[in-house]
């Protein structure tokens, strides 16, 4: 992975900041911590190590395919955030897929007078809910370009709150 010496030092500092704030990040975190100890002496080599460990964490968490495409532009901290939170978004996607499947089936039975076009549009609206998590994740990548990692973290965490698949957890009163 290419690094230039100008940004190498900054990147390793970000990685160490992530390690301190989240002590339980597993093998990737300890790798970044070890790399940080030699940060002052060899910024280039350190950045290299941090990137490797960050990539390890990211790929271990079964991320979607969005992160690798952005890896040429984003920092290591951003990659870790994308990997960890991306895994949760993947779970949300599965959850909303199941919910959309349920409501789509129920609507097929109960929808009577909405007509063909209305029925198709209603199905599209239900199934678009299954795309909510991937689209929110994608929009965070698009909007966070050129902004601080904090912006993307906040945006992704907001998405996790808004897109919580409640119908999976709470028995409905509506149906």
């Amino acid at each position: 992975m290419p690094n230039n010496s100008e940004t190498g030092d900054r990147q390793s500092n970000l990685a160490s900041g992530w390690t301190v704030s989240d002590g339980a990040s597993g093998a990737g975190a300890s790798g970044a911590g070890a790399a940080d100890k030699v940060a002052d002496a060899e910024p280039d080599a350190t950045a290299q190590q941090s990137s490797l460990s960050a990539t390890g964490v990211q790929s271990a968490s079964a991320d979607s395919d969005d992160a690798p495409a952005a890896s040429s532009q984003v920092s290591n901290l951003t990659l870790v955030i994308l990997g960890v939170i991306g895994g949760i978004y993947l779970l949300y996607s599965v959850g909303w897929f199941l919910i959309a499947q349920y409501f789509s089936a129920v609507n097929n039975i109960t929808a009577s007078n909405s007509g063909l076009i209305g029925g198709v549009l209603q199905q599209m609206v239900f199934w678009s809910a299954a795309l909510a998590a991937p689209l929110w994740f994608l929009s965070s990548l698009l909007l966070a370009r050129g902004k601080k990692p904090l912006f993307m973290s906040a945006y992704l965490l907001l998405g996790l709150i808004i897109l919580m698949p409640w119908p999976l957890f709470i028995a409905g009163g509506g149906e």
Partner: protein
């Protein structure tokens, strides 16, 4: 700018326009169902000797307002970006409103609309 880059820009533009059109259609349908509920629910309530109460009107208003607010927010966040980003943001907005509508449909009992 090379031919390849021009084609790439054109593809992004067309994709963005298609996504925007799709999002506009689905936002329109979401708004339409909200307005439809506002028109039909009072009739339905009257037919069973009840009326739509404050709770009912609150949720009907939310269903109408959500697509408008979310579409406005999506356009606002994408206002300085290209057509592709705008299309993705609008479609994400549609999906977000769908999620909210399903949440409301699931969590708020229809019977609480009438009294």
């Amino acid at each position: 700018m090379s031919t390849h880059e021009v084609n790439k820009g054109k593809t992004a533009l067309i994709t963005g326009i298609v996504l925007t059109a799709l999002a506009a259609l689905l936002f329109g349908y979401q708004l339409w169902t909200g307005i439809g509920n506002a028109l039909v629910f009072p009739q339905f309530a009257a037919s069973i000797g009840l009326a739509v109460n404050a709770t009912g009107w609150f949720w009907i208003t939310v269903q109408i307002a959500l697509p408008i607010i979310v579409a406005a927010l999506a356009l606002l966040t994408a206002r300085k970006r290209g057509a592709l980003v705008r299309g993705v943001m609008l479609l994400a907005g549609v999906a977000l409103v769908s999620v909210a509508l399903i949440d409301i449909m699931h969590l708020v009992p229809n019977t609480s609309y009438f009294s």
